[in-house]
Symmetry: C2
Subunit: 490 residues, 2 copies
């Protein structure tokens, strides 16, 4: 007779797997020890009430897994599989253990930098009127087109890996778009397709910033960029935004990278005029500073046509131009692009390959077709009309209810504006938000975009209007007027 | 009279933009200097033969861009926009300049590491019979399902950013899949959805490896992993693969990470038995080494059922389990996953958020539906049958034509096997490939997967069979027999 075994099947999944699992557990528990012979397949099948083939399948599997060995003459015996026995630590499930593995210095810096950004990630909408920034949905026409495009992208897809810089057809369309609408003068091999502007910023930071390097950022600035540079170990130099955008530092020291949003400064909305643009380029060229131009919302401009991008101006300075489809299409798509001088584009392509090979081909192909057909331009025109109405409603209502009590910034472009409260103390930002919430309006602070709160002149709010209709905006601002009235009383 | 101006319109795009561009160029060229008055709109319109409104639009645009200013009493004058004049360097186009910006030390390491990988990237198929590894296409049934799923993913999509760890529905399906088929014991919050296994490896390297840290890799090893660790500055320790997979080093020093492919070693195809698995886990636990288990092709196994993953075995060692849909669905999809203890999964989620926010939502939703419906399991079964036939044809043909002249490795699983030539000198690998190409067969060297060629016992080829039918495989191996016969003659 073989050993007495207590095997209980757990009833989950195919029978042979239940038997395999039960035997494996017996061995792991030590019910069966190394060298010990397993019961015969016939007897075990009878004990378990299963067919003998089931048991044979289970034994075969355990041989493959190394738990048991088939020995000529002595049948199936347990292999020596229990090195765990020597361990003095209690056995826990994998998913609960392993807090002992520490992050590297670089890893901790990255996780810490991400932490703050993650805290700013979208929370479920909690107010009837939500002025959150960046909420974007394509309209019904574009959604219908995208349903077709996505289906078609599988029907015609290349299934293999694509070019790390992006599909040639999409790069061609992006280059055309940037040349025609942003005044660039590039070919498709200046373009790298990325998974949104955040990946572009992370790749640039990884390639050009060493720990301790100084990186110039606007104050206030886009937190996603700040954190990508901090993750790379950058020493950030905040440069105040004035009426012409980021001021040029007088600092003579080495600055590796300058990150700017000249066409609609984030979050203030200031447009940098040509003179400051040329000054910035001249300064960058003479300092050997790489300019990262983030043109995150240039597709929407209401009182004028888009200002020509820095990357389109003649200069000796190197500019990496970053753009995204998160505002012009929708954030969940996760496609963006960068345009750079060829040597830099080539390095960024290599980095893209190493970090995630390439962007999804079906998505790239759908987008390329959308752009080539002219539907993308038509989409932008329709969305622009819609946003223009919302913006007009917001500016009008704010002027009507608050007049000279507030200053509105950045309303001429994009999908948000900023509202400043020069009469109120800086600490009142939280109160403004709290009072707004009491009348079911969600508004958001500008202070999170400052490195040093001392640089903030007065309380400010960032108000996104891309997800709201004019009527709701009017109703919401009227509520805000009621809620905030006590704050202005003297 | 105002100044005499020579403006020529370039005929591209809307008229008002042609006028804007012509005026801007005049100012940049210095035809119009700061403070100088622009001609009246009426006169300019007449000179150019356009309507006056066109000229007014152009002027408005130039005001916004900062090239000109409107002054009460003196009309429109040129602003001081020419800081370029002081530069002694010749003016080049942006796309051609900027070779002066150097990569950081870290950036150069990353680009250099990527360089070699990029050279291994797919070249256009150049032979009638292509044994390239990893060529995968869904069959007609799955393609039809994916056309529907992709369309549906837009119809039902959330358009906003998703959770950085991945959509809850997809994480749930991945957790179920891993628990049922790989023996893991995890919940959905152990899972992070990534853009393919390469991103998982890059994130792990960024979080856990500091420059100079030692990382254990199999010898030979998957080059994508090697390069992700090299990019992080790792000091690689190659550990020979024997009949039981990667050998455990006797080294007592600190090793931060051990990267292994235990279920089908890449490229040799060796399956690590349970005993070695437990040894490895015990060794890792006692050294505080993080194990990265890359289970890149576990969905396809022919002579047995999948071996339980390391991450499913009870151990104190921390294991990050990495998987991909590049082999089970198709590489161009760019979706993969990792499973890790919660604290590590949380850190990786933060890193994912910082590097590219999240994976594309339409893709994630399509995949989640594909998995939840059971279509993914059915797809795997169909593909497995197809690959099994190809594999059988390849192994049979190789045995028939080469017999004892070769050794076949790793044929029991995945979508490739290795062929070794113990009778030939190591330097003959290139000759084998060259002779194969002369009979229109593309085969690929194993030597690229070795850090030290001295560790390679004899020439070896990696032969992928996922894109080839049995008849073609038979014809190809017959050709190879003819081509290689001279090499075996004594």
């Amino acid at each position: 007779m073989g050993p007495v075994m207590i095997l209980s099947l757990d009833g989950e999944g195919p029978l042979y797997r239940q038997v395999t699992r039960a035997l494996r557990q017996s061995i792991e528990r030590g019910d069966l020890v190394a060298g010990e012979r397993l019961p015969g397949t016939r007897r075990l099948a009878a004990d378990l009430g299963v067919s003998r083939n089931i048991v044979i399948m289970a034994f075969d599997q355990l041989v493959i897994e190394g738990y048991v060995e088939s020995r000529v003459g002595s049948g199936t015996v347990v292999a020596d599989t229990r090195p765990m026995v020597g361990l003095s630590v209690p056995v826990k499930r994998q998913s609960e253990s392993a807090d002992t593995v520490k992050l590297s210095v670089e890893g901790k810096r990255l996780v810490d930098a991400a932490g703050q950004a993650l805290d700013l990630a979208r929370q479920p909408g909690k107010a009837r009127y939500n002025f959150e920034y960046g909420l974007v949905e394509p309209d019904a026409t574009s959604q219908a087109q995208w349903r077709r495009l996505m289906a078609q992208s599988i029907a015609t897809a290349q299934f293999d890996y694509g070019h790390p810089a992006g599909e040639p057809g999409l790069r061609e369309e992006v280059a055309k778009h940037l040349n025609n609408h942003r005044g660039l003068n590039i070919a498709s091999d200046n373009v790298v397709i990325v998974s949104g502007s955040q990946q572009a910023l992370d790749l640039v930071a990884r390639l050009f910033v060493s720990p301790g390097d100084r990186v110039l950022v606007e104050e206030p600035q886009y937190q996603g960029a700040r954190q990508a540079f901090v993750a790379a170990g950058a020493n950030l130099l905040p440069s105040p935004v004035d009426a012409d955008g980021m001021s040029i530092p007088e600092d003579a020291g080495r600055i590796r990278v300058a990150y700017v949003t000249p066409s609609h400064q984030f979050p203030t909305g200031v447009v940098m005029p040509a003179q400051r643009r040329f000054e910035l380029l001249r300064w960058a060229a003479s300092h050997g500073t790489l300019i990262v131009e983030d043109d995150y919302d240039s597709e929407f401009r209401y009182d004028s046509h888009p200002v020509q991008a820095l990357a389109g101006l003649r200069s000796e300075a190197a500019v990496v131009y970053v753009g995204t489809f998160a505002k012009s299409l929708f954030p969940g798509l996760r496609l963006g692009y960068l345009a750079a001088p060829k040597s830099i584009a080539n390095s960024l392509t290599r980095a893209k390959w190493l970090t995630d090979r390439c962007c999804s081909l079906p998505l790239q192909n759908a987008l390329a077709t959308f752009m080539a057909s002219g539907d993308y331009r038509r989409h932008l025109r329709r969305m622009s009309r819609r946003y223009s109405q919302s913006r007009h409603a917001l500016v009008s209502a704010l002027n009507k209810w608050f007049g000279a009590k507030i200053e509105i910034g950045g309303g001429q472009a994009g999908i948000h504006l900023t509202v400043w409260f020069p009469e109120l103390d800086g600490c009142m930002e939280a109160t403004l938000i709290e009072f707004a919430m009491q009348v079911d309006c969600a508004v958001y602070p500008v202070s999170v975009y400052y490195i040093d709160q001392a640089n903030k002149a007065c309380p400010g709010l960032i108000m996104g209007y891309s997800s709201m209709q004019a009527a709701d905006i009017e109703a919401a601002v009227e509520r805000l007027a009621t809620a905030w009235t006590p704050l202005f009383e003297r």
